[in-house]
């Protein structure tokens, strides 16, 4: 009875380190693709530590609360994932947190923050239906929403739901804010509307946002891992290749508009999932 709590706690403690390491490897690989040397693979940890050492300057007194809720929901959803709980519950908790990030940005009257918050809402609008469709597809095949049942399934889900995995890849790209979907404010060196939804944060709040981003990375990769749960090698290879593809797509594409994102991603997502599910159940 106590075991799921222990797993959840271990997951919540380990995930920022895993996510930070992945972020560091991401920047190193990106640099290598661009013929540069790039930062150390532990750079994300230096960044977070440095931000904790900076003065925190805020424009509205409820901004910290919004970020604490955002971080708590990101951490909680990862903890629940490690405890192998219900997929829909995990999804809704992380969705609630994501909305608080938007609220925090809307609190400040800066134009960059306002437009960033608006665009972040569009990004949420783009990826949430995709993730719901993927979770629904998984539950149709395995008959359950619980992760423990999905992991216990005999064949790798990738065999039965390949197109749904592509749809999840779209959602992953939007959630991680990688080009062409870094519309509301992307990581580090990309800028559009200054830093978009992250503009008005500094110091320890920005460090907490980075940590929440690490949690989100781990959660989304966890969702990808559901597609090959039968063997450790397949599991690791799938996650590695998926993230490598994310980095490559990030490097070869330019930022596009939110209108294009909504139109193309929703149409593509719904079409691909319909094809997969119809082929699985009607053909």
């Amino acid at each position: 009875m106590i075991w799921p709590f222990v797993l959840a706690l271990l997951g919540m403690l380990a995930a920022p380190f895993i996510g930070g390491f992945i972020s560091g490897v991401d920047r190193k690989l990106t640099a290598r693709f661009q013929s540069r040397k790039g930062p150390s693979i532990f750079q994300a940890f230096y960044d977070v530590a440095k931000l904790f050492g900076k003065e925190t300057v805020i424009s509205h007194r409820l901004q910290p609360l919004c970020i604490y809720i955002y971080l708590a929901s990101a951490a909680l959803s990862v903890g629940l994932f490690f405890a192998q709980s219900d997929l829909l519950l995990i999804f809704f908790i992380q969705a609630a947190g994501a909305v608080f990030l938007v609220i925090g940005a809307y609190l400040v009257p800066s134009p960059y923050s306002q437009i960033g918050a608006n665009r972040e809402l569009f990004q949420i609008l783009a990826y949430e239906p995709l993730v719901i469709i993927v979770i629904a597809g998984i539950s149709l095949v395995t008959g359950s929403f619980k992760i423990s049942d999905v992991y216990a399934y005999e064949t790798p889900l990738l065999m039965k739901l390949p197109l749904l995995f592509i749809v999840l890849g779209y959602a992953l790209t939007i959630k991680l804010k990688k080009s062409p979907f870094d519309i509301s404010g992307s990581h580090h060196a990309h800028q559009e509307i200054v830093k978009g939804v992250y503009t008005e944060y500094s110091g320890s709040l920005l460090a907490l946002i980075e940590i929440a981003h690490f949690y989100e990375t781990v959660l989304i990769l966890g969702l990808c891992s559901l597609f090959w749960s039968t063997g450790v090698i397949g599991f690791a290879l799938l996650l590695f290749l998926t993230y490598l593809l994310e980095i490559i797509v990030d490097n070869i594409s330019a930022r596009l508009t939110f209108r294009w994102m909504l139109g193309s991603v929703l149409i593509t997502g719904v079409t691909l999932s319909s094809i997969n599910l119809i082929w699985l159940y009607a053909a």
Binding site: R27, A31, V48, A49, F52, K54, H188, A189, S202
Partner: protein
């Protein structure tokens, strides 16, 4: 254990300086050279330097150009928005003292007349290598400041 965390934070402040760059009336020569530092040829990201365009996220402010009476308020505003600890780098001859434009009627003549400057990088335009040296020197100043506050 708490001191170990503080040591790590101090070490990280030197390993992750985030930049914001402001053109205060420059001819853009120094700006182009500054942005050239981010290209694969010089690659400052290997030092953890990232050009975040947001003063609220940045540690280092690189200012180019002579300041004039119109944009000195903007420069002061950006300086005020940056959270501590911060380093200000004046890049290029115009930033140091007004350069060849210092006699003009609209020129304030040098960034240190508006905000306190930590590192002066000469050149017209400033060489990317010199600018990177300047940032490293600024980090050295930050390290000294850390030692002083710790002692």
């Amino acid at each position: 254990m708490f001191t170990k965390v503080k040591e790590f934070i101090k070490k990280s402040q030197l390993k992750s300086p985030w930049l914001v760059h402001f053109d205060c009336g420059s001819c853009n020569g120094c700006d182009i050279e500054t942005l050239a530092c981010l290209t694969p040829m010089y690659d400052v990201e290997r030092f953890g330097i990232v050009n975040v365009g947001n003063p609220k996220h940045a540690d280092v402010l690189i200012v180019t150009g002579t300041v004039n009476h119109r944009n000195k308020h903007v420069l002061k505003n950006i300086y005020d928005q940056m959270p501590d600890p911060k380093i200000i780098i004046a890049a290029g001859a115009c930033g140091l003292s007004g350069g060849i434009f210092r006699e003009a009627y609209n020129v304030v003549g040098g960034i240190d007349k508006v905000i306190p400057v930590d590192v002066y990088v000469p050149g017209c335009p400033v060489k990317p290598e010199a600018l990177i040296d300047g940032v490293i020197e600024g980090l050295g100043k930050l390290a000294e400041l850390q030692k002083k506050t710790a002692a």
